[in-house]
């Protein structure tokens, strides 16, 4: 392990506490887990591997703001995806921090910020926008050949965002947000009148579209953005694009071939502010946690029936990952990394001048 320059700077920095006294709650101390997420420090973007004691193991500068980080199945490397509508992705060696490959979206395409590997690690799939036609596509890359692009297949919708491999190892589940954008107009939404979000399933080998699931015509303004795979199905994180007087449910569960919105009590619907940023199952698969950075909270739900269980507040919380112990999650919020169960929270570490980005992954 090498001590990064940033870590040295941090250790030299003064500690300034600027808030009211800190209450201490009881909880067992956890072994150091290693997490990786993108962050902004000042004006610079990094992909950062750190542990729950606050030690930074890798701090890789990025050409722009990053989004998801995708660990390769062999545990040796990760792919850091650019935030949409950017076009880069970096393959980073976890031992050395070196960038092995820089991938670029092919002409006429940009990345949407997420990717996933085949179970054997031979193929890498990315959600992309073919922006002249507005078609959502999945890029297929051959890992052994320096991630060479082999081709694209349709995502089955517009604006594919996160994609995950389902438990069978063969089917890709894709969250098609339904929102069309074009690089010329940045992040401006071009089709809110006609948006049709969907969850599609696609055979990763043939590219064949197997099913298109929607939330129904009355929920066309609920964009499906993020996904997590659990033992029984999928959890979907949503964002609402309609009139702000409405408070929308933001969690949907896909189980036994059916897609259903979680029943969401009005007070939590209001507190979540119509926007979920990330979603995760715990390792037991019993619990789903949904982060809501606009509402500054993480909410908990039963994976069986989608019933609402509770929430904790944390300013600008978004990154979330399941920890080994059932019921436990790792999270990032603002400059902070912390752990939470339904009952407890425990701050792990705070990082100077840092703004943690949307997503977090566990690294063995």
């Amino acid at each position: 392990m090498t001590l990064s320059r940033r870590n040295i700077l941090c250790m030299g920095g003064a500690t300034t506490l600027t808030t009211t006294p800190i209450p201490i709650i009881a909880g067992a101390s956890a072994p150091r887990a290693r997490w990786m997420g993108c962050r902004q420090v000042g004006e610079t973007h990094y992909a950062t591997l750190f542990d729950t004691a606050g030690t930074i193991h890798l701090d890789v500068p990025l050409p722009g703001r990053g989004h998801d980080i995708v660990p390769a199945p062999d545990g040796q490397s990760v792919v850091v995806m650019a935030r949409r509508p950017d076009t880069f992705a970096l393959v980073i060696n976890l031992s050395t921090g070196e960038t092995h490959h820089q991938l670029n979206a092919s002409p006429g395409h940009h990345f949407y910020g997420h990717g996933c590997f085949s179970p054997d690690g031979n193929w890498f799939y990315t959600t992309e926008n073919h922006y002249e036609t507005g078609a959502g596509v999945i890029g297929v890359r051959n890992v052994a050949q320096s991630y060479k692009l082999e081709g694209h297949f349709s995502s089955g919708g517009i604006g594919p965002h996160e994609l995950v491999l389902m438990a069978d190892g063969e089917t890709l589940a894709i969250a098609n947000g339904g929102i069309q954008t074009h690089p010329d107009t940045g992040r401006t939404k071009l089709n809110l009148d006609t948006m049709r979000p969907s969850l599609t399933t696609v055979d990763r080998t043939t590219g064949r579209l197997e099913a298109i699931h929607t939330l129904g015509p009355e929920h066309q303004l609920l964009s499906i953005r993020h996904l997590a795979a659990g033992p029984q199905g999928l959890a979907l994180a949503l964002q609402y694009e309609g009139p702000k007087r409405h408070r929308a449910p933001l969690l949907a569960l896909y189980q036994n071939g059916e897609l259903n919105l979680a029943e969401t009590p009005a007070p939590i619907a209001k507190a979540m502010r119509n926007y979920a940023g990330s979603v995760s199952y715990d390792t037991s698969g019993e619990l789903v946690a949904l982060t809501c950075p606009r509402g500054n909270l993480v909410s908990f739900w039963s994976s069986h029936d989608g019933s609402y269980l509770g929430f904790h507040t944390a300013r600008d919380v978004c990154g979330i990952v399941a920890l080994e112990q059932p019921g436990t999650f790792g999270l990032t919020a603002g400059s902070l990394a912390f752990q939470a169960t339904l009952e407890t929270t425990r701050t792990s570490a705070q990082f100077a001048e840092t703004q943690w980005d949307n997503h977090l992954v566990a690294i063995a």
Binding site: T18, Q40, P243, L336, T347
Partner: protein, 369 residues
């Protein structure tokens, strides 16, 4: 429901070293300002700044239409000055309203329908010259003019017609009628804009009832944020588009024709008017200044006010048009000092005021990711 206060991961600065196990961070100041204060702020800004600004814009465009109507019927050398004076009053009204950067003004085609500037590729001016050369009659009728590019229907186009080339548009019936058509179009736009705010279920209703959730706002904090962002955005426009861009990196890179309204020699007047509206946001009763004071942040209110007053005096002290100043070596230091003050003002508003009022947008709050 689990208590909101069960846990609050605050945003204060700590070093990145270990905090210690089993720590939970205390609730941050966020959400401790009562919602009614934000509602009072948004209501005051709407009724005392936004609506008067848009009413004034309607009044002045109406007067401009009358002035041009009279002039084009009976042209004389006396009235060309009157028309130009009324153009200035109309542009004054628009520049006062320009810092309002949300609500119906954003509806397509956006603020450019009043003023398409900067015209970075010169496309607007090319179209305008073509219309004047070919005497394209379709610009003389509101029905057809209203469907044309904003570059042919805005206050920049009117400035071009009234101030470019000679002082004698008197002799040119086409120009006169075109100018009148633009003025009339602007009057219609101003009337529609005001109506969009004040009509039944108009935008004013959306703002003042934000606490209950409206189509435009999730709650009263979001409405207050719209005003704050507007203020910060207006300072950005002044600094970057109106000053920095024509100044260039060094004096050799200065571009006088990149200054706003250089034909009518009113670049600095525009800047003053923009900043006076920002000042109103801060100083009216129940405005941002009062809200800061009421929440114990008097120093921020005072610092912001003093800096803004100082910037306004600096702008008023220049005795040449900005198009001349950007190429004047003697003025360079003063302009650079103005830029740097504007930069400080911007960070005061965007960072300090936002933080004091707990209106800082979260890093992960951008939609779509």
């Amino acid at each position: 429901m689990r208590s909101l206060k069960a846990f609050k991961a605050a945003s204060h600065q700590l070093s990145c070293t270990l905090l210690g196990m089993m720590l939970t961070v205390a609730p941050a100041a966020a959400d401790q300002i009562e919602g009614t204060r934000f509602t009072a702020l948004s209501t005051a800004l709407t009724d005392q700044v936004v609506l008067p600004a848009y009413e004034n814009l309607l009044d002045e465009t109406t007067a401009l239409t009358a002035s041009l109507g009279a002039y084009c019927t009976a042209p004389s050398n006396d009235t060309v000055d009157a028309v130009r004076d009324q153009f200035h009053l109309t542009m004054d009204a628009w520049q006062r309203a320009q810092p309002i950067q949300f609500g119906p003004i954003i509806d397509a085609p956006g603020p450019a329908r009043f003023q398409f500037w900067p015209d970075k590729r010169g496309t607007g001016q090319r179209q305008l010259r073509r219309v004047l050369t070919t005497q394209d009659q379709s610009v003389l009728v509101e029905e057809t003019l209203g469907r044309k590019s904003v570059a042919l229907t805005d206050l920049q186009a009117l400035e071009y017609v009234l101030f470019e080339t000679s002082d004698r548009i008197t002799d040119d019936d086409f120009k006169c009628r075109y100018a009148l058509a633009i003025a009339e179009h602007q009057r219609v736009l101003a009337a529609n804009l005001l109506q969009a705010w004040t009509g039944s279920d108009g935008y004013r209703t959306q703002v003042v009832n934000a606490a209950n959730g409206t189509d435009a706002f999730f709650d009263e904090r979001e409405a207050a944020s719209a005003f704050l962002n507007s203020m910060a955005g207006a300072i950005d426009v002044v600094r970057l588009q109106k000053l920095d861009r024509p100044m260039g990196l060094t004096i050799t890179g200065a571009r006088p024709k990149r200054t706003e309204s250089w034909r009518s020699a009113r670049s600095l007047r525009n800047i003053s008017l923009n900043l006076q509206t920002v000042q109103q946001f801060l100083t009216i009763d129940d405005g941002f200044g009062d809200l800061l004071k009421a929440t114990g942040k008097e120093e921020t209110a005072q610092a912001t006010n003093e800096l803004l007053s100082s910037i306004l005096s600096d702008v008023a002290a220049f005795d040449q048009p900005l198009s001349a100043l950007v190429e004047d070596a003697d003025a360079r230091t003063d302009l650079e000092s103005l830029l740097s003050k504007l930069r400080s003002l911007q960070s005061l508003v965007r960072e300090q005021v936002a933080q004091d009022l707990t209106l800082v947008p979260g890093f992960n709050a951008t939609d779509g990711d």
